[in-house]
Amino acid sequence: MELGTLVALVLTLLIFSFLYRENPFYRFAEYLLVGISVGYYLVIISRNTIYPLVIDKLFLRGEMIVLVPVILGLMMFARLNRRWAYMSRLPLSLMIGFGAGISIPAMLQARILKQMSASMQSLFTINGIIILVGIVTTTAYFFFSRKQEGFYGEFTKLGTYFLMVFFGATFGYTVMSRISLLIGRLEFILRDAIGLIS
């Protein structure tokens, strides 16, 4: 067996040991995983963002404007010292504000308008009626200004039934994904590592 495969096999088994119960072997793998993944991100971010967007632009192309985000980025380091921590609020508010701004039209367009448009279907079909009833009753369930009682309560209850169908469907589909992941891991153990199947 190759060294890489052996290492992968051992680590795989260490993680699976969690199914019996939490134990030092699992804990070893867990701490190792956290460290490796942090190191991985550090390298990837440095090589793929800081190098091309900062070093390359600043030192090789002399684009001085890049200094602005660099200074803002450095202000984030102020977080490490409590006395200077307030300085990081400036880059923070830039990111939060800008993010909020671009999310509004995007949310409106894709989450609301597109979904509305796609739901406007002919009521001469059963499916068209079910979709309209489903959206309206479920939206009523999310209506917060009125207590859910009496006839209105029954109406919103219908909405919860639709929600349950949705959750059930998602759960069913998710089972599929999770089993597939397990198949992938078992294939690795049985085929690639110990060669039980070809």
Binding site: Q109, Q121, T139, F142
Partner: protein, 373 residues
Amino acid sequence: MRAFWLLLFCVISALFCPVASAEFTAIDTPSDGGGSVTLCWSAYDFVGSSAADTLTIYRRNVGSIAWKLIAVAALSDESHLDDSVADGKPYEYMIVARGGDSSSNLYAGPVSASAQWYNAHRTTVLIGTLVCVLTLVAVTLLSRRNKPFYIRPIKGLEAVDEAVGRATEMGKPVLFTPGWGGDIQRPTTIAALNILRYVAAKTAEYRCDLYFPTHDPVIMAAAEEVVRESYIEQGQADMYNADNVFYTSSSQLGYAAAVDGVVSRYKPAAIFLLGTFEGEALILAETGNSVGAMQVAGTDSTIQLSFFMVACDFTLIGEELFAASGYLTKDAKILSSVKVQDFLKIAIVALLFAGAIMVTFGSNTLAEWIGRT
């Protein structure tokens, strides 16, 4: 879709400039960033030239003599977008039916391209945005005068106090984590931080430890501010420990493994899983379950909701997460935005009915207008 708008535009311009457009028009492309000219013609004009096989389009700068070939179009085409022009320069265009009679050549121009400040294709979204902004401003102003708005009880929210109280009684900490799926630019994260503000105030009041692991350093920075402010407000600044709000790893399972570690080491009595979660949702929820924690979950990730429903004690579904922050904090500003959401919901339902009825009777106008980009 783009072709549709182009066509619509040509139809409209045909209505407004009947003389020129009967044949061949060149106009500055509307709602673009400049650098393009839209050409429209009627295929009908070339039906007569039976020998023709394709259409060729030429362009020249006003004042120069030589024509330059810029595109070849099929006989059935009725428009072309020339995006190789410079802004502000006048051009003339010629369209030729190749193999046809040269008398059928059509000319258009002069025309020059320019950039527009407004993209008319996005008017629907603009109107929607304005409606949201105006409703929010109006309701916020009104709420200053009137008593706080009523919000129906949200199932499970009373549990927040109960959970923190239980942790205090048992002398165990509280854990709050916003999931791996969101970043600070996601409004869900902001809503989760609002609930964090409330939870942190409670843990400060009860003098109970609060852990906040996250996968995103920016969320960590914002959460530190939120937690520290809550502790100061409660007069418990000495209790605040910056180490308890910490970055784990940006990797999904690295984060999940680290949170699991915290859960199994400190065995919190109450766990809040509020924010945007992906596949790690059930890993966290099951681990929380195994240490017997009371779990309150809430997310806008539609898929993970079903897991939270099964594995957690209380689950806030989608929008409830946003409303919850208002319900808990009784903050008039957040309550009024919940009210705004309700008003908009009424409008949306009304539009849905109107649109569906129109579609039923054969008109897609409203559905298309709402869905256009």
